[in-house]
């Protein structure tokens, strides 16, 4: 009882609150200073979709069309032809980043692991046409790394 009155008269609870905030004043900050600092991405981070090649430099993609069928928004379109070895190869491979929600159904559907998520996430462009990404820009190499930085 006396303790309770003491707490009330000397505003102990309010002062305790002040001390809590003072503690946080000196503790570490959680802000990441974005352009200078970046968070470390997890291995399964869902960045931009990329096409991959095998060790010989051939397309892994066999133009089976599973990704076209899996995509809920129909963002992928492929035109394919049979090569000299009678195997289907994609001639054009267009991916529309405009409405992609990174659901990953195409990645799951791909039987040859040709299409995978990369770790690129700065995907802003000034021209909307650039978001229709064609086959030559879908592979991950020195030129395509610059694709979203040039604008």
């Amino acid at each position: 009882m006396i303790k309770k009155i003491f707490r009330k008269i000397f505003l102990i609870d309010l002062i305790m609150g002040l001390l809590v905030t003072l503690k946080y004043f000196f503790l570490g900050k959680v802000t990441v200073q974005y352009p200078e600092e970046r968070l470390k991405l997890q291995p399964r981070f869902r960045g931009l979709l990329r096409l991959y090649k095998d060790e010989q430099g051939n397309d892994l993609c066999i133009a089976c069309g599973q990704c076209i069928r899996a995509c809920p928004d129909s963002l992928i379109s492929i035109y394919s032809e049979r090569g000299p070895d009678k195997k289907l190869r994609p001639i054009t491979w267009t991916f529309n980043l405009n409405r992609c929600m990174f659901c990953g159904l195409c990645v799951e559907a791909c039987p040859t692991n040709a299409i995978r998520f990369s770790h690129e996430y700065e995907l802003a462009v000034y021209d909307k046409k650039k978001l229709y990404i064609h086959k030559k820009d879908m592979y991950l190499d020195e030129n395509t790394r610059k694709y979203f930085k040039e604008n």
Binding site: L18, L22, L27
Partner: protein, 343 residues
């Protein structure tokens, strides 16, 4: 020639100096508050414009200056435009009576560090401060919109309840000083060799709480109450008029911190003016003692804002009428009784 220097040139320089001081201090305070609050909330706050973001409020001021001056069609235009001016001017005028330090000697001339030393200075300051509240009330009322009206109603009743406690808490201090001049109040503390905070802690508490309520700061920021009333009385204001309200709010913080410093913490006096072995502290000029104490109370204002939630409206009224005013009255009687007994 001498009259020209004494009565025109020096006062004008002082006026310019005080206005610059208030403006620069307010700009720094706005930045500091955002930064402090950021630190308390485990983030960094504005740190991009200039070193550590110190130019952020200048950038904000420029942005507000270039914004369109929106006047909604339903408002009472004259009062709508007048009320930011009332708030702004009254917030600036009170600094004319704040003594920043002891007299300086410059170019063989004795210069006092205050613009005016009225013998009713305290009364004048409190009066002007009350007029400043009218700017808030009229501004909310002239906007003819529901949230500003609620804000100004709250401001009106808050003014009525807390001004009583504010002035009553001052009476018990004035028993000792027997003067309303702010310079005399500090000198009385020098003569008594003790800060009034130690002989009048209850009055200090009441004055500080009422001061926080008067300057519409958390936990008493009901007239603004962003989460309930959009922006309270300044909902309809934008651009430079909003900036006037904003600057005035921070000028109020500065003013109340200065007043607490002068009335209860010995103004420009060093800590423990009666202890002789602390006399090495005299090497720090009195102005810096004043500004240091000021900075502490300004920090306290920000610290409180970052910590405590807002009081409910009935709690706000209850604190004033059921606790602060009876406490202030009891304090007056007890202090007066003791003063008579000692004499």
């Amino acid at each position: 020639m001498n009259i020209f220097v004494d009565y025109i040139l020096i006062p004008i320089i002082k006026i310019l100096f005080i206005i610059t001081f208030v403006f620069v201090a307010v700009l720094i305070l706005i930045w500091l508050e955002r930064r402090f609050q950021g630190f308390i909330q485990s983030r960094l706050g504005p740190n991009r414009v200039g070193p550590q973001g110190i130019l952020q409020s200048i950038a904000d001021a420029l942005k507000l200056l270039t914004k369109e001056d929106v006047v909604p069609h339903q408002v009472d235009k004259f009062i709508f435009n007048l009320s930011p001016i009332i708030v702004f001017v009254t917030a600036l005028v009170v600094f004319a009576f704040i003594p920043f330090g002891t007299d300086l000697t410059l170019f063989g001339k004795k210069i006092s560090l205050y613009l005016a030393d009225l013998n009713v200075g305290l009364l004048f300051i409190i009066g002007f401060n009350s007029i400043g509240v009218f700017g808030i009330i009229l501004g909310g009322w002239a906007a003819k919109s529901k949230y500003p009206l609620l804000g100004s109603l709250r401001s009106a009743s808050q003014m009525i309840s807390y001004e009583v406690a504010l002035i009553m808490s001052l009476v018990s201090v004035l028993f000792f000083t027997r003067s309303l001049s702010l310079v005399e109040i500090v000198k009385a503390q020098q003569e008594m060799k003790v800060w009034f905070a130690f002989i009048q802690p209850v009055a200090l508490f009441i004055f500080f709480v009422a001061g926080v309520a008067e300057s519409n700061r958390l936990p008493f920021d009901l007239p603004e109450a962003e989460s309930e009333l959009v922006g309270g009385f300044h909902t309809e204001y934008s651009g430079m008029k909003f900036a006037f309200y904003f600057v005035a709010e921070f000028a109020h913080i500065l003013f109340f911190s200065a007043l607490v410093t002068i009335l209860f913490f010995g103004g420009w006096l060093r800590p423990f003016p009666n202890v002789s072995w602390l006399s090495f502290l005299d090497y720090i000029p009195p102005v810096f003692w004043f500004l240091g104490k000021l900075a502490f109370f300004v920090f306290l204002f920000m610290w409180m804002r970052a910590t405590w939630p807002r009081y409910r409206y009935d709690q706000l009224e209850m604190i004033s009428w059921k606790w602060l005013i009876p406490l202030a009255l009891a304090n007056i009687f007890i202090t007066g009784f003791i003063v008579i007994l000692v004499k």
